[in-house]
Amino acid sequence: MLISIAWKNIWRNRSRSIIIMLAITLGIYGGLFILAFMQGMVKQRLSTALNTEISYIQIHHPEYLENDDFNCYINNVNMVEGLLQDDSLITAYSKRIIVNSMASSAETGTGVKVTGVDPETEITVTNLHEKVVDGAYFEGVKRNPAVVGQKLAEKMNLKVRSKIVIQFQDANGELTAGAFRVAGIYKTTNTAFDEFNVFVDIDDLRRLTSLGEGRVHEIALRLNKIENVPEVRTNLGDRLEDMEVLTWKERDMMLGWMSESMNQYMYVIMFIILLALFFGIINTMLMAILERVKELGMLMAVGMNKLRIFLMIMLETVLLSLTGAVLGIIVGLITIAYFEKAGLDLSLWAEGYEAYGFDAVIYTTIDTNSVIMIVILVLITGLIASIFPSRKALKLKPVEALRTDN
């Protein structure tokens, strides 16, 4: 009965209720869409990082990353490969030699990271081969092929089949150089990655650097599911005590933080939106109560106790809030579903996004938990907002209330 009365009371002043509901709808819609936008951005960034850049897990010599020392390589690669092949959660792995170099073209020179890969296994771990926009991935050039990023190509005025000279220190500490020819130019959504990373054949690089057979700097792993990362990392860490086994979160702290903390920051934004709506709801309910002083006096006179009066006002406030919120969620979910397929094209600001590794076309996404959390937050907002108007009502004395001219 109280729910029925509360619902009917909302519509006593139709225009006032609709206005506050619309405000709530817009607020919730805005918050939900921003959340979906940010979740989509993070999801895409994570996908790019895992599938193109750092993979799921990396294995190194324990001092390799800290010292950035060419001679800190993994020695017993066969033993490591045996472990990796035995783990069903690992779907593929790739061995790499890495050297920091100076790349020069006819036009200019710049510092780059040169990674030597086995093209056949590398394509099972990363999707860089799918990002080639000009030329081919290690095809079309027989001797010393190189795959470079589009940003680097622009900087150094490189085209397919252009010559690029790479200078570095070899395993003996001697300064040496190799001439490579551009086989393919790739473009990812991370211009910093594109500018800095050059990929060559592992055998070519091994020969030029004099790094002995069976030695590599990095083994990158691909897993069947991201959820299995902690388990695989623990298993490998236990068995490879003299190596460094790092998850994607550990390799890219910023990404790890973003993935974990983004939702918390979004809830702060949601809280601010709800705080603003909170005052609007209180105002609306206070007006409703002040208009009904005489009626409240009558209800108390005929025997409606304080708890029921409180519940009636609380239900009215919560129903008002939830109706607006549900509308906002429905409209939000429809919009999110649309942009989940069509993508939100922000290419006007593409350069800015790609400088930080973000795609300029964002596919919004929202998880069920976030929607549930928003409903709970609205419920709490309605409950707290009902306290002040309820207290006003409960302080009324029936005799005095009945005398008012409503």
């Binding site: 009365i5 009917k8 519509w11 006593r12 108390m300 005929v302 025997g303 409606m304 009945l402």
Partner: protein
């Protein structure tokens, strides 16, 4: 059977530093089934008396015993519950809940009492039929005339099967025809249900209908006539 016993009732207000004796030593009693009117000029204390008898105000001194309970000294929560189950109210301004239909307004009291759906339905139909509104059950107050609204209010007042009904100027906003109609209905219900009706009124037609007329002046009973 005695329903209400009022003993040495006093109510003193603080009127800007000067005490105002709104009720100044009243002794009265009401039996089951009475149809009584309390009359008196404005400021005589009749509304204050009625408020105290209805448990809406507490006396400064004295007792109001209803069915063995001194209601003048009940705590707020106990008093609300007592009113719900023992006292019916009919107000001058009808005071129906505007978002509920006539049927729902009458049922409302029984909902508060926790009565079953069957009981509520049955009693509501009986009462709305008794007040001549069984064909307007599903109308909201804004679709009813003043007289019709007051008849719904009477039905509501009787819904809880109270010990007595207090009606404060129930005919003040009604035309002649509606007033006569309402009074006939209330008189019939008084006889059929044997529920005590106590009116506070200036209306001569109500006084004419009443079987007992109590006159109050300056907070005291100056006359108490049974016809």
């Amino acid at each position: 059977m005695r329903v209400i016993e009022i003993k040495n009732l006093h109510k003193v207000y603080d009127g800007a530093g000067v005490p105002v004796h709104a009720v100044n030593g009243i002794d009265l009693s009401f039996e089951q089934g009475e149809f009584a009117a309390i009359v008196g000029p404005s400021g005589s204390g009749k509304t204050t008396l009625l408020n105290m008898v209805g448990g809406l105000d507490q006396p400064t001194e004295g007792e109001i015993i209803v069915d063995g309970t001194d209601i003048g000294h009940l705590k707020s929560r106990e008093m609300i519950n007592f009113r719900l189950n023992n006292i019916g109210f009919v107000f001058q301004a009808y005071n129906l809940i505007p978002v509920l239909t006539a049927k729902e307004n009458v049922e409302f009291i029984m909902h508060l009492q926790g009565r079953s759906k069957h009981d509520r339905n049955q009693r509501t139909k009986e009462l709305l039929a008794a007040v001549g509104l069984d064909d307007r059950m599903n109308s909201r107050p804004n679709k009813l005339s003043g007289g019709q609204q007051q008849r719904v209010a009477v039905a509501r007042a009787l819904a809880s099967k109270p010990k007595f009904v207090l009606a404060d100027e129930p005919t003040a906003n009604l035309d002649t025809k509606s007033t006569e109609n309402l009074l006939d209905i209330m008189e019939k219900l008084n006889k059929d249900e044997n529920i005590t009706f106590i009116f506070s009124t200036h209306d001569a037609r109500v006084v004419a209908k009443a079987r007992r007329v109590i006159t109050i002046e300056d907070g005291k009973v100056v006359s108490d006539k049974i016809k």
